[in-house]
């Protein structure tokens, strides 16, 4: 921060975070204010840095798999899927169909869980207390499915390189279908509370606009990009894990404001239910684990594999030197890159909107800092 800002009497420098309830973790934003107007921001991050990439270089491929769950800890299953796909690509193998369909079901459930957590906390930030209780109630049902499947609720480590560790439990299909039937009316319920609520619309419409061009400039992906009208979703653009077999839409917005991002995520939850229903109906029989060597030593080479995580494009760039450990393991975290656009979005706006915009970006600091 230049010293002149402290001498300038018209500009107030305000520190928001790292201990602030609406920064969703340990994000520190230094705000330069002129009255209520934001003249600029600076993000201070890294409080949660654990050196995930360095750990990856010092663990075998299998040993590292549980670590990826700790990056975006509200969407651990998605992280695991991306990592497994990257190593599988490096080994040039594919998971068997039964494993792929199961992966899709669990990942889409995870997308709903992640969006529910976002909706609850975002609404809470803006002043709507009720939705957070409803969202956590429904999210609990998803966590129960995870618990039944693999014993863990959040950091699940549900997938293994080459397929799955566990066979589906008895009653998985019924429980998942029951969740879908229960959940769709609940989305309408959230929308009844919020969509036409005057305060909600007033706080969200026209706030934190990011156009499609700006999104591309900043590398912003996920619902934020789609809300700006860019119809781009990796599940459609470069399908993985058999996503091309499912029938679903890519919801988009028009204005790229906070309200559109809200609408896009609400629609995405409905689309996820649609995918889950199709997938549950056609879980093929067969093995759940592909032919993977006991000791994973991929040939010398490098790959970049990315998936559409709930927050955006989550990529893994893995370099192998034909040893049991990755030579280099780079994670392309969607939250980190989306957060970079925060300055652009809040500049010129009001200080109260910073909270709304941090919420709408849907960042998880575990993933920003890794």
């Amino acid at each position: 921060m230049p010293e002149s800002t402290f001498l300038d009497s018209t500009e107030l420098v305000l520190n928001m975070g790292p201990q602030h309830p609406s920064t969703h973790g340990v994000l520190r934003v230094i705000l330069k204010l002129d009255g209520e107007k934001v003249n600029g921001t600076e993000c201070v991050i890294g409080y949660l840095h654990r050196g995930v990439e360095k750990i990856g270089e010092n663990r075998t491929y299998q040993q590292f798999a549980p670590y990826v769950d700790r990056m975006d800890y509200v969407a651990a299953v998605s992280n695991g899927l991306g990592y497994c796909l990257a190593v599988e690509k490096l080994l040039n193998i594919e998971a068997p169909p039964r494993a792929q369909v199961t992966r899709v079901i669990l990942t889409e459930l995870n997308r709903i869980a992640s969006h529910l957590l976002w909706l609850g906390t975002h609404a809470l930030d803006i002043g709507a207390i009720t939705p957070v209780f409803y969202c956590f109630r429904e999210r609990e049902e998803i966590l129960k499915i995870y618990e039944n499947y693999c014993g863990a609720r959040l950091t699940t480590h549900a997938f293994r390189i080459g397929g799955l560790q566990y066979e589906l439990y008895d009653g998985f299909e019924e429980q998942t279908k029951a969740f879908c039937d229960m959940f769709l009316p609940k989305v309408d319920e959230y929308e009844e509370l919020l969509t036409n609520n005057r305060i909600w619309v007033g706080r969200l419409k026209g706030v934190g606009i990011l156009t499609g061009e700006e999104c591309k400039e900043y590398g912003v992906t996920g619902p934020v990009l789609r809300a700006a009208g860019v119809k781009w979703d990796l599940r459609k653009a470069q399908p993985y894990s058999g996503y091309e077999q499912y029938d679903f839409e890519i919801p988009t917005g028009e204005n790229g404001d906070t309200y559109d991002r809200y609408m896009v995520r609400m629609q995405e939850m409905r689309q996820s239910v649609r995918i889950i229903r199709q997938a549950v109906d056609k879980i093929p029989s067969g093995p759940i684990m592909g032919k993977v060597p006991k000791v994973i030593k991929p040939p010398v080479g490098e790959v970049y594999v990315s998936i559409e995580a709930p927050k955006g494009e989550l990529g893994y760039f893995v370099v192998s030197d034909n040893s049991t450990q990755p030579y280099r393991l780079r994670v392309r975290p969607p939250s980190f890159i989306n957060l970079q656009a925060l300055d652009r979005m809040v500049r010129g706006g009001l200080v109260a909107d910073v909270v709304a915009i941090v919420g709408t970006l849907d960042i998880v600091l575990g993933e920003v800092d890794r």
């Binding site: 663990r59 590398g219 990529g315 760039f317 370099v319 030579y327 280099r328 392309r332």
Partner: protein, 218 residues
């Protein structure tokens, strides 16, 4: 976990037969021996020591070749993923050309890989995507230690934080970057953690030496 179970310091790790073509051994190798090998009874087929990439040719490579000629040393594809290797000074013009003339308008990631035994120590990797073509390519370059590559911020705004992270982790400073500071680690941090000669134990040992007065806590 493989690296916690070995004896520390006292004796050098026993030489392993048939492991000569393995990774370049940085100084920290003593602290991190290769995990135990399976018995040499079933000799695994020897994998090549370099990436088995095949040449890549398309309309795009033709365009780039016409424009940049000698500045591009390789067009290759590995497991269906295309990349080109560029001379360090040509990276920014190539990124600009790809953005303006070939629609690669989304810079997905910037990262580096450290090869300490090589004269050009670092691989700098730019991953690009084109929404129009639905295609992903990587632009790679090799730079020696101390070389200051030009910043890509003028071409892609998203490079700002990504290059700061590369600086933070590898100590590669970018020329013309608006704000070349550490991003994830504190300002006063010593060393660059993702370099291969940065041992995962060194901080811990430094701390126990200073605070507990013992040689190693492991």
């Amino acid at each position: 976990m493989a690296d916690e179970q070995k004896p520390v310091g006292s004796e050098p790790p026993p030489p392993k037969p048939g492991e000569t073509a393995a990774k370049p051994e940085p100084p920290q190798a003593a602290a991190k021996p290769a995990p135990p090998k399976p018995a040499a009874a079933h000799a695994a087929p020897k994998a090549p020591a370099v990436m088995a990439a095949t040449p890549w040719e398309s309309d795009l490579t033709g365009q780039v070749k016409d424009r940049f000629g000698e500045d591009i040393s390789e067009f290759a594809t590995y497991l269906g993923q295309n990349f080109l290797v560029v001379k360090p000074d040509a990276v920014i013009p190539v990124l600009e050309f790809l953005k303006l003339e070939a629609d690669f308008d989304y810079l997905v990631d910037v990262t580096a890989v450290d090869y300490p035994s090589r004269a050009e120590r670092f691989d700098l990797v730019y991953i690009l995507y084109s929404f129009v073509r639905n295609e992903r390519i990587r632009v790679k370059t090799r730079i020696p230690e101390g070389f200051r590559p030009a910043s890509a911020v003028k071409v892609h705004l998203t490079a700002n934080w990504l290059e700061r992270e590369v600086f933070d982790m590898f100590g590669i400073e970018f020329d013309g970057h608006p704000d070349m500071r550490r991003i994830l680690l504190p300002e006063e941090w010593e060393g660059y953690p993702l370099r291969k000669d940065y041992s995962i134990l060194q901080q811990d040992e430094k701390w126990v030496k200073e605070n507990l007065g013992i040689e190693s806590g492991q």
